[in-house]
Chain length 297, copies 2
């Protein structure tokens, strides 16, 4: 009844204005201090994302790459239900809840460079809604169609408000042509209500290719014409933080240059999940944590 | 026996050095004059391509767009065997031999801005080996995997030497993210011999998705590491001319911005087709003209 973001309930799509703030004030109503300076904060508010060149040093990039290589070669990890493998090759594409599998990645989530930025943007203590590492192979990387993460988290996980932020930390160089993330700056202010009904166990397919919860072409055309498209490019070690409702996607990657990154979604402890708004049952906790465990240094 | 560019004949791929020149001298052994200045000619020789910003004026772009719209709505054209339509939607993706269908495009091929550049690069009179218009839709444009056009023209059409040049004239804006052409500068000096055997009537499938005649991943990795990748971007009306042996491809296009272009391949009249080097029979003449009809103003 008091669903601010109805989706997958009507036969027609809609574009709704976002009532939630983008940079959330703290408990006393004033901004929460942190490492993001005012100009960048203002830009994040307007565009819905910010980049952090060189978040990781070259040495750290090497360490995390080694950690990723260790993980994808560990048979226990490969056979874990939280690991998504390609149908044919059985190669690892993603490992979910990776902060509970790798102490090194857990430490990164607690690192002040990451955690303090998330707290500053969300105006509160935060917990990890989802974490994963992603591998997009060269030559045949498939990409992801346009979507708002929040649309899925709201419909399928029961996230009430737009008070979550994702950080993607590149472990490989991002070029304009190897399937990196595209984002429509400013699109985070519009909620695109999608058509369709969520089937049971939808997540098993949707992690590989999104269909339900896909924005309609008319809305995408309006957003692209109004906001344009930006690409997240830069050397390994760069990071992108983006609001939960940014319209984003990625094209295919036929280049020989693979892509891998670490992906952590922080949600405000004030925004704990409730029942899904448009799905028969919530997704498993390794995709959408249902326990609020504040991340502390 | 005197095949300089063997392909699709061995069980293993190979990288062969190109003996043919890139900028061909004229009949008397000296350069053929033309509109391309020396610096650009030198760069074309080194990289295998050149761009012509603003080849068409904004007004001409509008005229050619109108011509394209007229063609794709003409039922006779849509049902022509030279027109390639998408399986599901029946939408037109390409129209081949379009210079024989549209007098306006025939005139463009004769235009001194186009024709004199082709003559200058190929060092002789030229004829049209292939022409087409291409439409890549927004949202679901599929892209083309890496390939050298010459590999196909040699194997399937019987083109003896690397003495052909393609011009792609953009009728829509090319961004780095809407499936535009990627090219490896310098790759035109290496012939990547491919594995596999050409089946009969291969062209019916290969126009939609290339499989036979596909370069191996090792060779592509070597070329990409050595030469890098450049993208052809720029506003509608810009043109790209590229050597027949450039390694090129394109990614998918999920953006709302479609792409269309006019594509003309000029071959030297001194380089007339012979029997295919690696196929049971030649492709139809609307894909690879077998009559040498010099283009004259």
């Amino acid at each position: 009844p008091d669903d601010q973001y109805p989706t997958r309930v009507n036969g027609h799509p809609a574009m709704l204005r976002r009532p939630d703030p983008v940079v959330w004030p703290g408990p006393d109503g004033t901004p929460v201090p942190g490492p993001i300076d005012n100009d960048i904060l203002t830009s994040y508010d307007a565009k819905g994302f910010l980049t952090i060149p060189g978040l990781l040093s070259a040495e750290e990039v090497q360490e995390f790459r080694a950690e990723l290589n260790r993980l994808v070669e560990d048979p226990e990890v490969v056979n874990d239900e939280r690991t998504i493998v390609e149908k044919g090759s059985r190669r690892v594409r993603s490992i979910f809840e990776v902060h509970k599998i790798s102490p090194k990645i857990a430490a990164l989530a607690r690192d002040e460079r990451v955690l303090d930025r998330a707290r500053q943007l969300l105006g509160s203590e935060v917990y990890i809604h989802q974490s994963r590492i992603n591998y997009m192979p060269g030559f045949r990387g498939k990409g992801f169609y346009w979507h708002s993460d929040f649309e899925t988290w709201h419909a399928e996980d029961g996230m009430p408000a737009m008070r979550a932020v994702s950080i993607s930390i590149a472990l490989t160089d991002n070029y304009p042509y190897n399937g990196g993330l595209m984002i429509m700056p400013g699109s985070h202010r519009t909620f695109v209500s999608c058509v369709g009904e969520t089937p049971a166990d939808h997540y098993r397919e949707s992690l590989k290719e999104q269909e339900i919860g896909t924005p309609d072409e008319d809305s995408l055309s309006v957003l692209a014409a109004r906001y344009g498209i930006e690409q997240f490019t830069g050397p390994a070690g760069s990071a992108l933080m983006f609001d939960s409702n940014c319209m984003h996607g990625s094209g295919s990657n036929i280049t020989p240059f693979p892509r891998s990154n670490i992906f952590i979604v922080f949600n405000s402890v004030e925004n704990a999940l409730v029942s899904p708004f448009s799905a028969p049952s919530p997704r498993p906790p390794f995709i959408a944590a249902r326990e609020v465990e504040p991340v502390r240094r």
